[in-house]
């Protein structure tokens, strides 16, 4: 467990490192083989895609939340911008799934890069309120701009297109698409890992631990938080784009603060001080929601209880709970 949960900040001996490599390799194998084993235990491939997409969004958020100490309650905005970007590109501009995904991701990332500097002017609860309000602004724009976005009914009329590689065409069925998601997830996770282990990432953690001190030392803390904000928004936008491709649909709900809350609880539930925490949280959250909404109308109560229980009993998340002595 500790191999999986190893946080980037703790480097202790070659044994720990090789255990971590083993753990990550095992995780990679499990994820690669999902289309093989998931049907055997009663799941379906699209569900696994959803888990990875939510995990990706929450991992992006967690760069800001868990490693930089910025509590954004508005990351659905960048997720939603990514998904509208992909949807509109496929509907009006291009037949290339990958180009649409690239544009959607960049649109969301750009928005985060531009709005981050406004939000980081304040910290703490204030920061959360500002991020949530910025997110709601995009929500209302999407609801009101009927002609472009389809208003409250959402954006329809696009679908993911086959991807043409040299010599082979992938029709993008459920399994193909899962691997596309997995590749994006892998690239983003690697990028986040590299960032967290770079001097930049160490600065993020230092800012989380003692913002005032870093400011006194002459570090431009606001600028660093804004950089973290932009990267984390970019990753969330990538997840949003993939989500639009998964559903062949997107709606204002992808921009709403409720979804931001979902991403936050995924990060907290899994363990926001752990690199793989959000993946763990996404597995639990998405599966519980999928299962409970199939058997009862009161699924909102169950989701609410997930929030309450994880906050009261698992403040450091599931991985943090099993990994109590590891502090990052």
């Amino acid at each position: 467990m500790s191999g999986l949960a190893g946080s980037p900040a703790s480097t202790s001996g070659s044994a720990a490192i090789s255990r971590r490599v083993l753990g990550n390799a095992a995780l990679g194998l499990v994820l690669l083989a999902v289309p093989v084993w998931l049907p055997l235990v009663g799941g379906y491939t699209d569900l696994a895609s959803r888990v990875l997409i939510y995990a990706l969004a929450a991992m992006g958020l967690n760069l800001l939340l868990g490693f930089t100490g910025g509590l954004s309650f508005g990351h659905a905005a960048y997720f939603g911008l990514g998904s509208y970007g992909v949807g509109l590109m496929l509907k009006y501009e291009t037949h290339s799934t990958l180009l649409a995904l690239l544009v959607g991701t960049l649109v969301g990332g750009l928005a985060a890069a531009l709005l981050g500097p406004i939000a980081v002017r304040r910290r703490g609860i204030y920061f959360s309120m500002i991020t949530i309000a910025i997110g709601q602004m995009f929500y209302f724009i999407a609801v009101r701009w009927n002609g472009l976005t389809g208003g409250e009914d959402g954006l329809t009329g696009f679908s993911r297109q086959p991807i043409h590689l040299p010599g082979v065409t992938l029709p993008m069925g459920s399994t193909d698409f899962y691997y596309l998601v997995l590749i994006c997830f892998g690239i983003a996770a690697l990028a986040l890992w590299i960032v967290l282990n770079s001097p930049l990432g160490h600065s993020f953690v230092a800012i989380r631990e003692n913002y005032k001190r870093l400011t006194f030392l002459g570090i431009r803390t606001q600028r660093y938080v804004a950089i973290s904000f932009a990267i984390s928004g970019l990753v969330a936008a990538l997840a949003g784009g993939l989500n639009a491709l998964l559903d062949n649909f997107t709606s204002p709900n992808t921009l709403n603060y409720t979804l931001s809350g979902d991403f936050l609880i995924i990060a907290v539930l899994g363990g926001m001080r752990n690199f793989w925490g959000p993946l763990m949280g996404a597995v639990i959250f998405v599966l519980v929601r999928d299962y409970v909404s199939a058997i009862t109308n009161n699924w909102m109560t169950v989701i609410g209880l997930v929030f309450v229980i994880s906050v009261i009993f698992f403040p450091m998340g599931i991985l943090g709970f099993f990994n109590g002595r590891t502090k990052s």
Partner: protein, 290 residues
């Protein structure tokens, strides 16, 4: 055009009164309980549904008084059992997510007990008539809403200014540790403060229900503007929250007259401008909650 503008401005002011009531409750709880209460909107709906059930027995006026108190009792339970456990955690994320989850649970409860369909809340007949034929939009009920909002706000400020508990709440806002050391039971104080905040939400909920009717998620459309009102008015200042609510309500109303599609977005634009020009808000204190 003049009449339309007046109509929308008046509408906006009424809306602003709701925002201000919500923002006051939120700001109280934010101040002493260090909690952004996402469940405020759900408590608001809960009180409105309580009133809906009570009105046939105790009348509108009875409901207006009893229902917020009932919601306050539930709020007390929530504070004592759940919120209180989190005061020692310094990261605000926990109370945020707790109340966020609570909002889900309360809304789902309402849906289960009263149904997802919208319901009307009966208001006294004499409040329902327009007061003049030219200014048809000034109904008795709308003036009543403004009057109650003023009364509630006035009462709150009187309590905070002149009563012992009010003075303690204000003292606790500026230095909780010191008043604890002076022998004030801060757990009791925080519970009382939480309940007062919920009662404010309850009153706002019943007033809103008289105008727009009841739905389980009726609080959702009010809670975000209330947050904006707090940011615009300045965290830590109740007067600021009040002003913030009125300003964004008015701005939203006036925008409706010229460009209806932007009536919701405009309040976030105002907030954005405020943050760039004056990050601490109209009357906020520098560095609070940071």
């Amino acid at each position: 055009m003049g009449l339309i503008l007046l109509f929308n401005a008046f509408n906006g002011l009424i809306q602003g009164a709701f925002y201000a009531l919500m923002a006051l409750g939120l700001a109280l709880i934010l101040g002493l309980n260090n909690t952004i209460n996402f469940a405020q909107g759900a408590f608001m709906a809960l009180a409105a549904y309580f009133a809906f059930t009570l009105v046939p027995y105790v009348g509108f006026w009875g409901g207006l008084i009893v229902a917020p108190l009932l919601a306050g009792v539930i709020g007390l339970g929530v504070e004592v059992v759940l919120v209180r456990r989190l005061y020692n955690r310094r990261d605000p994320i926990y109370t945020l997510l707790l109340t966020f989850g609570l909002a889900f649970i309360i809304q789902d409860l309402i849906r289960t007990v009263w149904g997802a369909q919208g319901q009307p809340l009966a208001i006294p007949a004499f409040l329902n008539h327009p007061l003049s034929s030219t200014y048809f939009f000034i109904t008795g009920y709308r003036l009543f809403v403004v009057a109650v909002a003023l009364l509630g706000t006035g009462a709150l400020f009187a309590v905070l200014r002149f009563t012992r508990i009010g003075i303690r709440i204000r003292a606790g806002n500026s230095d909780l540790e010191t008043i604890a050391a002076l022998g004030v039971n801060i757990y009791l104080l925080r519970s009382a403060n939480f309940v007062i905040g919920i009662i404010f939400a309850g009153v706002a909920g019943i007033l809103a229900a008289g105008q727009i009717g009841l739905t389980p998620n009726m609080g959702d459309s009010l809670i975000m503007p209330a947050f904006v009102a707090i940011v615009v008015g300045g965290v830590g200042s109740l007067v600021g929250s009040l002003l913030g609510g009125l300003i964004i309500g008015l701005a939203s109303g006036i925008t409706t007259a010229f460009f209806p599609a932007a009536s919701e977005v405009v309040i976030y634009v105002i907030m954005g401008i405020m943050l760039v020009v004056r990050p601490r808000g109209l009357m906020g204190q520098e560095g609070l909650f940071e």
